[in-house]
């Protein structure tokens, strides 16, 4: 990063002893912060391979001292039907993503690139929903899904997934940043608006859709409360809800097996994050500026 030539502090500042001392102290605090952030994650990983006796010993220690019990993962995998729940989560993720691309993507394209009457009013109609706190209509939302007969079906996730003003905003500002010459060239060549959208806008928007895909994935992976309200049969639960119902509140489950299951649930998002950091942090930045 070029900005490191100087920040708040310059090279000259480091010649002063008290600046050096305070800076050193701050670095120490940052190191402590990093350890605090990583400790719970690694301790979950290590607890997953301890024997049940060791994980229950007091005071607990960080690293496994006996042998590493990899068989905990097999036991955890078979404790509840994880593959079924995993499939449900993926089903929700894919459907939500399709809704985001099709419904939100088209609307964002329209707001950004197409002629619309009363554009301001229409934007207002969409963006106002950002400012209404969702918990205030949590229960009506549930009743509404019931009125529509969508309870206990995945449509209850897929269809509302298109109603996300925040994603709409992100997509719209991305489309705004594309060069309009591309679309004009397309139109001159006789492409319809649909073709412009499908063959110019969508391919150019892979980065923003990747960012959104990660957001949608982490929501699908994380959301436990809403599915527990909407879904009534155990077989339909996504992973997070199943973990909440059968693992978080389980009493008879051995602690090391519990940690092995938690590890399996925790690793996929960590891997996704480490692989796609660039998109995530870029998206955060976008979100931060736009609120």
């Amino acid at each position: 990063m070029k900005s490191h030539e100087r920040g708040i502090l310059s090279r000259y500042d480091f010649n002063r002893l008290n600046v050096k001392l305070i800076y050193g102290f701050m670095v120490l605090i940052t190191v402590v912060m990093v350890i605090t952030m990583l400790y719970p994650i690694f301790s979950t990983l290590f607890n997953a391979v301890k024997s049940n006796q060791e994980v229950n010993s007091f005071p607990p220690h960080f690293l496994p001292q006996g042998s590493w019990h990899w068989e905990n993962f097999t036991k955890g995998w078979n404790y509840i039907p994880l593959p079924t729940f995993l499939k449900n989560t993926l089903l929700i993720f894919v459907g939500n993503m399709v809704a985001t691309v099709v419904v939100t993507g088209m609307a964002a394209y329209s707001l950004s690139r197409l002629r619309l009457p009363k554009k301001q009013l229409i934007s207002f109609f969409f963006m106002m929903t950002l400012f209404i706190p969702p918990t205030t209509y949590l229960i009506p939302n549930f009743l509404n899904l019931q009125d529509l007969g969508l309870l206990n079906s995945y449509w209850a996730f897929w269809l509302p997934a298109g109603a996300n003003a925040y994603y709409l905003l992100l997509l719209k500002s991305f489309f705004d940043s594309l060069h309009s010459e591309l679309f004009e060239a397309g139109r001159i060549d006789g492409a319809s608006e649909l073709r412009c959208f499908l063959q110019i806008a969508i391919p150019l928007s892979i980065p923003i859709f990747s960012t959104l895909a990660i957001f949608v994935f982490s929501t699908a992976w994380n959301e436990w409360f809403w599915p527990s309200m909407v879904m009534h049969s155990d077989k339909m639960y996504p992973l997070a809800t199943a973990i909440y119902k059968y693992i978080v509140n389980a009493r008879m489950l051995d602690l090391n097996i519990r940690f092995s299951i938690l590890t399996m649930i925790m690793l996929p998002p960590i891997v996704v994050f480490l692989l796609f950091q660039r998109f995530i942090i870029g998206g955060l930045h976008l979100g931060g500026v736009k609120g």
Partner: protein
């Protein structure tokens, strides 16, 4: 068509008034066609529930017998509930703790990390990593951390201190939840601040240094004022988000011990799930809307300013 005067009229004008709509349609066809699915979805799944909330709050909701109009009874029942005051108090306490523990931390670390010459990327990733831990894992792991035989109490006994009942002691339970959530969430806020801090032009520091400003003066008079609007916006956002908090309270402690973590939003959920009185739950939601709506208005204004 019945009389001949029509035929006398220049045909072009008839055609013109006729083509007004067609022209309007031709002009806006694609725009509207692209917007239509989203408009329908937004109405069905966002605006309908929002409006229905007001409607349901005057009804007794019964899945079997159908809904009956009860006037203001739901509101009366909600206001007469002895837990309500406690829930409002808990929510305010939760918001206050969140700001006390969680608000300054990301600003502090953003400024600190912007000054790191090495390992900045690593520190950034580590600070954000807890954010990607699924909530249910967070709850489960931290329950063990706070356990009387967990690692925190283990360390406390090793250094000879008293054990703390982080979750079962009502004076600690809310603090424990806020610490847990701060651990998970501060990284995201930190990265947003960090981006703002890094975008401050370096020459400003250079110039002020030449003018003899010390390090603290530079932070106080340049760094913080530059991100002032962002700080205010994040403050409001956290205020709104925290006032709606219920998930960790529900998952980790189910509102206990002795309603010590029963927040307002959790009370709504409890009315809908265990007390099975959805009318009162929606009435509580409407009352919450009236209060938070004001905050949202402030946020709306600020948002415009920041952009």
């Amino acid at each position: 068509m019945q009389n001949s005067t029509l035929q006398v009229q220049p045909p072009s004008e008839v055609k013109k008034s006729d083509s007004g709509l067609t022209r309007w349609l031709r002009k806006y066809f694609w725009g509207i066609a692209f917007l239509l699915p989203a408009a329908v979805i937004f109405i069905l799944f966002l605006w309908m529930p929002i409006i229905k909330g007001f409607f349901y709050s005057f009804y007794q909701v019964d899945f079997v017998k159908g809904n009956t109009y009860v006037g203001l009874d739901n509101y009366k029942a909600a206001l007469e509930d002895p837990v309500l005051l406690k829930a409002i108090g808990n929510t305010l306490y939760y918001v206050f703790l969140g700001l006390l523990i969680g608000f300054v931390v990301p600003i502090f670390f953003a400024i600190m990390i912007s000054e790191l010459r090495k390992f900045q990327g690593f520190v950034r990733v580590s600070a954000y990593l807890p954010n990607v831990i699924p909530l249910v894992v967070l709850y489960s792991v931290w329950r063990w951390f706070y356990d009387s035989v967990g690692p925190i109490n283990g360390t406390l006994t090793q250094v000879g201190a008293e054990k703390v009942n982080f979750l079962t002691d009502p004076s600690w339970s809310m603090i424990s939840l806020v610490l847990m959530e701060t651990w998970q969430q501060f990284g995201a806020a930190m990265l947003i601040y960090l981006a703002a801090v890094l975008s401050i032009p370096r020459d400003w520091y250079e110039a002020s240094e030449i003018d003899g400003a010390g390090v603290w003066q530079r932070i106080w008079h340049i760094t913080l004022p530059s991100i002032r609007n962002l700080i205010v916006l994040m403050f409001i956002l956290q205020l709104i988000a925290a006032s709606q908090g219920f998930q960790s309270q529900l998952a980790v402690l189910d509102g206990g011990p002795n309603n010590a973590t029963m927040t307002y939003a959790l009370l709504i959920v409890k009315y809908a799930t265990t007390r099975l009185n959805l009318g009162v739950a929606t009435a509580l939601g409407v009352m919450m809307f009236l209060v938070l709506g004001l905050l949202s208005l402030v946020q709306y204004r600020l948002n415009k300013e920041v952009n």
